[in-house]
């Protein structure tokens, strides 16, 4: 059976609304008070050297949060510039820049590489 274009969109909408669709992005909820120059988003991240930021990275499918059992893993491309580690609560991470420079965070959802987020770390004056 061949699905029409309208049918595919309708199915995608239904799946997204039910939380059963594919991963689209991470939604970040801050868990600590970051310095002013900090930016945490799915498009890019900006940190201040030596300052840690804690956040919840909610895996989203469109506007819907994915299921509780969704596994989110974040890893730094260069731990000499920025490190990230999990905290105790589900999908909670602590990210910090160890020295000035550029790197990236890889986003794995249920073990699959889904995105790479550029990260820049500003040196403290």
């Amino acid at each position: 059976m061949k699905m029409t274009s309208n049918g595919a969109w309708a199915l995608a909408l239904v799946l997204a609304a039910s939380g059963c669709g594919g991963f689209s992005h991470l939604d970040f909820v801050m868990e600590s008070t970051p310095p002013e120059a900090t930016l945490i988003s799915f498009e890019r991240m900006q940190l201040v050297e030596g300052r840690a930021v804690a956040f919840v990275a909610r895996p989203m499918s469109g506007d819907t949060e994915m299921g509780d059992d969704t596994e989110v893993s974040l890893a730094s491309g260069n731990p000499d510039v920025a490190e990230i580690g999990p905290s105790l609560e589900r999908w909670t991470f602590v990210l910090f820049g160890t020295t000035g420079g550029e790197t990236s965070l890889t986003v794995l959802i249920d073990g699959e590489l889904e995105a790479t987020i550029p990260v820049s770390v500003e040196v403290q004056p």
Binding site: E49, G50, G85, S87, G97, T99
Partner: protein
């Protein structure tokens, strides 16, 4: 780092059996960070007394510490639901700014997060610590011209004493935590002697006791945090 982690775990375990310590809740709310003074001349501790009247050597995290001065930090995770404790170690998020060896010390002014993590790298908590340069040594108890007159002791086992207080301050007279390493010396002990007391100024700086031995003039040299202040002392009748 591993040795330090074991030491912190041991200290935390020891602390767990010795009653509550005053600390600051971590940003993630999983435990408490305590600032630990490694010497008595640290203003963070010498103004704090516990219920029993003793000076606490574990206190809440101070607003700022002095660059280059040493201190210690402990973390104690809150009790788990089953009553157990999680062992943790502390890390600096910028080792080039805040070094952690046998003690903690800032290499330059700045703000650095300290994280508490488990052996498998799970981050339990974090707290930010600020550091400022020591700018001045303020001496309390001097005349308006910055000099000091003390009375000659009469002898026969009788000594007249004069007390001088000193404190190392940051910009805008900010009090800074850290082991400042205060010292005081007389340039001529045949004119006056100086020795530390067990008391502190209202701001938490150490106080020194001067005794005039003979009529004359000499200098009192006060040092702390790499700074020096010389006070001209005259012993009068």
């Amino acid at each position: 780092m591993i040795t330090r982690a074991l030491l912190l775990t041991a200290v935390a375990a020891f602390g767990a059996g010795c009653g509550p310590i005053s600390g600051t809740e971590g940003e993630l709310g999983h435990g408490e960070f305590s600032y630990v003074c490694i010497t008595r001349d640290d203003v963070a501790c010498n103004q704090s007394t516990n219920l029993y009247g003793y000076t606490d050597d574990r206190v809440a995290m101070p607003a700022a510490v002095a660059v280059g001065m040493h201190f210690d930090v402990e973390y104690r995770a809150h009790e788990l639901e089953d009553g157990g404790h999680v062992d943790s170690r502390l890390r600096s998020t910028a080792p080039s700014i805040l070094t952690i060896g046998t003690t903690f010390s800032f290499t330059r002014p700045g703000s650095v997060s300290i994280i508490a993590e488990t052996a498998d790298g799970t981050i339990l908590d974090l707290i930010d610590v600020d550091a400022e340069e020591v700018r001045t040594l303020r001496v309390d108890g001097l005349a308006e011209d910055g000099a000091l007159e003390i009375e000659k002791s009469p002898g026969y086992g009788i000594s007249y004493t004069t007390t001088v207080g000193v404190i190392a301050l940051g910009a805008n007279d900010q009090r800074l935590a850290g082991a400042m390493g205060y010292t005081a010396a007389s340039s001529n002990e045949e004119v006056f002697t100086v020795q530390p007391t067990a008391t502190y100024t209202a701001d938490g700086g150490p106080e020194y006791e001067l005794v005039g031995v003979a009529l004359g003039e000499a200098d009192l040299t006060l040092r702390a945090a790499g700074l020096e202040r010389i006070v001209h002392v005259t012993v009068v009748e």
